[in-house]
Symmetry: C2
Subunit: 676 residues, 2 copies
Amino acid sequence: MRYSLLLLAMAASLPLQAKTLSLKSPNGEIELRVSDDDAPHYAVLFHGKPVIGASKLGFDFTNAANFRGGFDITDSQRATVDSSWEQPWGEARIIEDKHNELVVSFTHPDSKQAYKVRFRAFDDGVGFRYEVNANTPLNIGRELTEFAIEDADKAEAWWIPGRGWNRYEYLYQHSKLADAALVQTPFTLKNKDGVHIAIHEAALVDYAAMTLNQRRPGTFVAELTPWSDGVAVKTNGTFNTPWRTLHIAPNATGLINSHLILNLNEPNQLGDVSWVEPGKYVGIWWGMHINKNTWGSGSQHGATTAETKKYLRFAADNGFDGVLVEGWNIGWDGDWFHNGDLFSFTKPFADFDIKAIADYGREVGARLIGHHETSGSVSNYRKQWDGAFSLYQKMGVAQVKTGYVADGGNIKRIDENGLERFEWHDGQFMVGEYLDNVKTAAKYQISINTHEPIKDTGLRRTYPNWLAREGARGQEYNAWGNPPNPPEHIAMLSFTRMLAGPMDFTPGIFDMSFNGLGDNTNRPQSTLAKQLALYVVLYSPIQMAADLPENYLKRPDAFQFIKDVPTDWEQSIALDGAVGDFVVMARKERKARQYSGNDWYLGAVTDENARDVTVKLDFLEPGKTFEAQIYQDGKDAEWKWRPYEMDIKKQTVRKGDTLSLHLAEGGGAAVRLKAL
Amino acid sequence: MRYSLLLLAMAASLPLQAKTLSLKSPNGEIELRVSDDDAPHYAVLFHGKPVIGASKLGFDFTNAANFRGGFDITDSQRATVDSSWEQPWGEARIIEDKHNELVVSFTHPDSKQAYKVRFRAFDDGVGFRYEVNANTPLNIGRELTEFAIEDADKAEAWWIPGRGWNRYEYLYQHSKLADAALVQTPFTLKNKDGVHIAIHEAALVDYAAMTLNQRRPGTFVAELTPWSDGVAVKTNGTFNTPWRTLHIAPNATGLINSHLILNLNEPNQLGDVSWVEPGKYVGIWWGMHINKNTWGSGSQHGATTAETKKYLRFAADNGFDGVLVEGWNIGWDGDWFHNGDLFSFTKPFADFDIKAIADYGREVGARLIGHHETSGSVSNYRKQWDGAFSLYQKMGVAQVKTGYVADGGNIKRIDENGLERFEWHDGQFMVGEYLDNVKTAAKYQISINTHEPIKDTGLRRTYPNWLAREGARGQEYNAWGNPPNPPEHIAMLSFTRMLAGPMDFTPGIFDMSFNGLGDNTNRPQSTLAKQLALYVVLYSPIQMAADLPENYLKRPDAFQFIKDVPTDWEQSIALDGAVGDFVVMARKERKARQYSGNDWYLGAVTDENARDVTVKLDFLEPGKTFEAQIYQDGKDAEWKWRPYEMDIKKQTVRKGDTLSLHLAEGGGAAVRLKAL
């Protein structure tokens, strides 16, 4: 008896043998391995070859012992899910969620501290999150999650800087992986076998955003954006981190043809969201960016009652749902950039009769779209936002564009002691502030389009009134950016920023020459056809026709495409493309036309190189005939001097046919496949 | 009466008018302007032209109101200093300190918070530091000091990344200023008028190191390296920051011909430092880097009694003062890189008889140089260091090389609760730890040569036993670096790293072919003559002859220069050069030779381009004759395949003569001007 007790005692004191657990995707092509050998870590294989090497897990806390080495795998649980769910609006209606799950418990043999990591393997990628249940508040100093890229010295990447003054508004760099130091997510890379990987996160709630810092060559470590007091994340001890996600695909388009981010988000918490309406809009906006109008009062004031009524008329006449009006409220006349406290969110300028406008809108059938520019003074906004949303609700406003124009790290809040604190747009504080704004708006049945936002991590699933956001260099940079967005920009965004979620890019500029044509002025570095293609290539439930109405009236032929194209989709397919080079998208409209069924749309864009793309129409429904209405660059078109030359042709097509599309330098093509 | 009281009352409540104060350098060429208009800021002009535009001052605290806008200049005081002082050792004996000083008091009219900024303008640059006297502890979250470079879009810069895993050990980048995102200091830039500026700091004590982050284009903001809990600097409320320094010169050599950093440091606090001895050394070190020996025990163990005695003999025979021995102590046999706790600083390996070695050294007249590698486990070192220094003192060791090999952010300390905390090499914690190490060593009359150090900020003035440090990519990278240091590296260091203080580069590799010649292997990318030039070009009070003794014995002709060259100087002059291209240094030995006077030495190095330099010997004393012993690249020499071809010639020279030196690709020249 004693002898066996002794043996038992000895066994209990021996260190547990290192364990490795395996989790495969439903189709078996992706494998996750999780191990506690030396320190908790994971690795990922694709078709049996490592793509992510041994990558550590863990945290350094500021007020407790760290989760570093020494933790053992003490338990694991598995699950398999094969389901689908329906979006109230989106790039697709039905989303399939098929994954295998592994929840691993790590425990420290001495301190008994424990945490879990939940891993999910999908056919299009993996995600994992930490789940901590401590009985004491834990402040995270540093998250230790690594992404160790295999064969890093042969990989290339597309990225923007991780903690810049200009937030997410940078041109994407294409470089050897080695040259990416501190980067934002989504972070896209391609290894020597052509495997494309994008690192991002899903369900960023009550936590700091993750950027990635290349520490040892090829190993990227999570770098959390800190509070003004330096702490990364403040928790009460019981928390789940956001999901750390890896899109994994054998080619570029596979990154786009994925619902990884949405599938890792919580279901809709708002209940009935029939009041959330995708649509198209115009607005008193571009005129200010090209210096025709001012936000502030004066003879060039854009946001006047008369002008807004003109826009509402134009919107109604042309099938647009709303008119965004910027510069309507008190505050624009001062030094608002340095002092957002000047803004009132309830008091209009004297020449903006919001009630008359609301009445007129109701009369003609187009709504005012609201605008709340905070200039980073978020406490000033928060204390007014209930009143502001209430006012808008009374005025029939169903959608608000918010703004947080301020340098990175310069969001101003007033703390509990009445002192000013300066935070990052993507620190834990603002992550909460943006979401509170959306939740508050929902109480008033108002949807939100956030500019200068937190990155998209799929929360539109949980809060479907969070329609869209900016979070990249949009059309405005073509008005005054130094430099404007180059021709490759859209093909860059498609495989990086757009993997996160919809973008309010505000496409559709028809007049490229407000500063003169050529390649040395501020203007969209694009052809006219490419501007049309954007409505299909860049997904957003709300799309602006961004130019001045007069420019659309000058080109009714091109404008027709904008009038036709929907913004809500049954299905979307990335057909072809390469990161930063070109992309071809196909989308099926969600709302079936009576008697004929659903149209399809194609959009194709290229970079500074002309390109001829062949689109095989094998995604069309068999037995149906479509009229392809093709808007493509003229044979001599190119973006610098001849952007307007566009051919519009029609042809009948069926499933299996091929369309050849010519894309000029900086060009594109847009096609409506009208169901007959 | 009432009326005037009313006026008085009104005046008192009116905001103070914006003030601007001016401070000029003694020769009037540099002007500092300090203003409280909008927010406290400064600017710098050179020859009447702005070089630094309006640059903010201030702090964000985590536990008090910020020092941002709204502070007024409420007082100022001026002083003029014209003095000189003597270094116990250095690149020059007599240092002139001529400056004008302005101390500005800033006060907030409402909160009454106040702080001072002390500005000093020298002919070779400016420095300023904050002086805070609050009666409550203040934790700094962010320092707001800016350096706004005028005409930034036309400027170029030379830099290394500011917070990399490899600390300071990066190749210098040369780029447009716009492409420098987060950088270390010294940070060197050149504007369109050829004005060279280097941003750095002096007297970094009890504070976090400053890196620079380019926020708005052209504006660099101080970015302090944080503690593991995220706070940048913890103070008791009464503190001076380090001096923020700007070397300003009309050309590249002007940056080197400056004592700005030393002049801003406090005088010697150690008293009699006659026990601090500059000199030259050899060591059991390179053999491990080229894989001939091991640090750990075994048949190739470098640090044996027999081998050390051989080196001591060689050192004594050739005029070297000491022998560095690495791998002498218990700890090297385990996984020391991941666990520095394995190191004992008092227990030698069995095959290293430290007493026998000490006795032998005393016998032949050369000392053992100690080695304390911590591998970043600083608590393990601290608890042993008194015993370790005491042992060394008994063994006649007068100098110790310390090491902190660990990735940036991975210095491990044990906190007051017994928990592991991971800190940066250049956070406030380690700034204190490195200095405590030096102060402790002084108690045992031991000097310190710190590897993987905190950057040099001139504290050798205050603690003259802090002889040298690494803090850049040194010779070891030529053994195994990926890649090795390229030919331009020395000309880069001279105008960047070397502005901070001495570097233990460990020059003098004579055998370039241990992995084969050519340009595709690990080897010094240098000619033999350039290796000699390093002894003059890169200042250090302790210089190693880094190669294996056998390689010196094979080239007694070249070795003669190393035997002759001193390491302590009366005077140093940068004669010519351009950042990253080439540099020509002249130095006058400090110790006069009996009967003949002081020799001068010249060193010149070039990058990958061959270069012929003309040196006008107008710095020589009039009326004296010198024998120039010239060691220069042979006419067909070049670093890749013909590095060894060297011409040695002698000629008589006097003041005013000219020497023409041919520098091969990757080459150099070394000259002893022997006083006759």
